[in-house]
Amino acid sequence: MTGAVPNAPQPRFAPGSRIRVKDDRPEHLVRIHIRTPHYVRGRSGTVQRVLGAFPNPEALAFNRPAEPRVLYHVLFDQPPVWDEGQAGDTLLIELFEHWLEPEEA
């Protein structure tokens, strides 16, 4: 139950940037509270909006020092994620910056 933190780090991605969500499974290695759904890991999307910076929930949930991380609203096309749905349908998901990389990388 925390609000956006002041003195937020500069966002790495601007609205309109194409990104890819890291295809990572850190929960297999350490105790961590992850807010990145499995179904979107490894998928490409478009940054819609910068939502501010929030304490990193992955550390906060275990009472470890939680660095502020920039949170984005990212838009994905629905059909390639689930192989269902209609063309034009989309998914809008809040994702933290350390889960995102430029699409071409």
């Binding site: 925390t2 939502l51 629905q78 269902e84 749905g85 349908d89």
Partner: protein, 204 residues
């Protein structure tokens, strides 16, 4: 699609009482704070969200504020947002309809809609809304006009999301109060559309 409600066990209640007693002993919470929090939680209801929607339909400046800073818009309705996550509001258009789900847990804009219904927290809704939103909408009796795209909003992190639905046709000249009476919790989550599916919210 709802999950039957299970009352907390005696062990769970005893555990909660011990936890609260320990927090009070250490000065982390007081009885007054708990009472105040409980009062706020019980006062929260979808009527607040409905009034905000009706205001946005009739007042362009408020609509602009609601979409830019939902938290400030809620506070202007007397909702105390201190200690609450920021509120984000997503506007339906003639091209896009929003449906809110929290696949990871049950994030919900409680400050302006109150407690989530049991179906919102059910594994079935959480799994299906994101995967086959059109089938879920159809089961609610919600018919989207042809060509409208579905945008599923997975509430995964620090915001809480509410939908600003389209104002129904045939409501020209209505007062804000009368407009607010059209809007229910289901419209604010996006499983139904105001004015379009009267009496279809049987799954609640």
């Amino acid at each position: 699609m709802s999950t039957p409600y299970k009352a907390p066990s005696a062990e769970n209640i005893a555990l909660l009482e011990k936890l609260v007693a320990a927090l009070k002993r250490r000065g982390i919470v007081t009885e007054e704070e708990i009472a105040r929090r409980r009062e706020t939680a019980e006062r929260a209801s979808p009527e607040t969200g409905a009034r905000m929607v009706a205001r946005a339909w009739t007042d362009p400046a408020f609509r602009e504020l609601l979409l830019r800073d939902g938290t400030a818009a809620a506070e202007s309705f007397g909702v105390s947002m201190k200690g609450n996550p920021p509120l984000g509001v997503l506007e339906d258009t003639a091209e896009v309809h929003h449906l809110v789900v929290c696949t990871l847990c049950s994030c919900y804009p409680r400050a302006v809609i109150g407690y989530p219904p049991h179906w919102y927290k059910s594994a079935a809704y959480r799994a299906r809304a994101v995967r086959e939103p059109r089938a879920v909408l159809a089961e609610w009796g919600t018919v989207l006009p042809a060509g409208v795209q579905v945008r599923v909003v997975d509430s995964t992190a620090d915001y809480r999301w509410m939908v600003l639905p389209l104002r129904p046709e045939g409501t020209e000249g209505w007062s804000e109060e009368r407009l607010a009476s059209l809007v229910t919790r289901d419209h604010l989550v996006g499983v139904a559309l105001p004015g379009a599916t009267a009496g279809a919210a049987a799954a609640a």
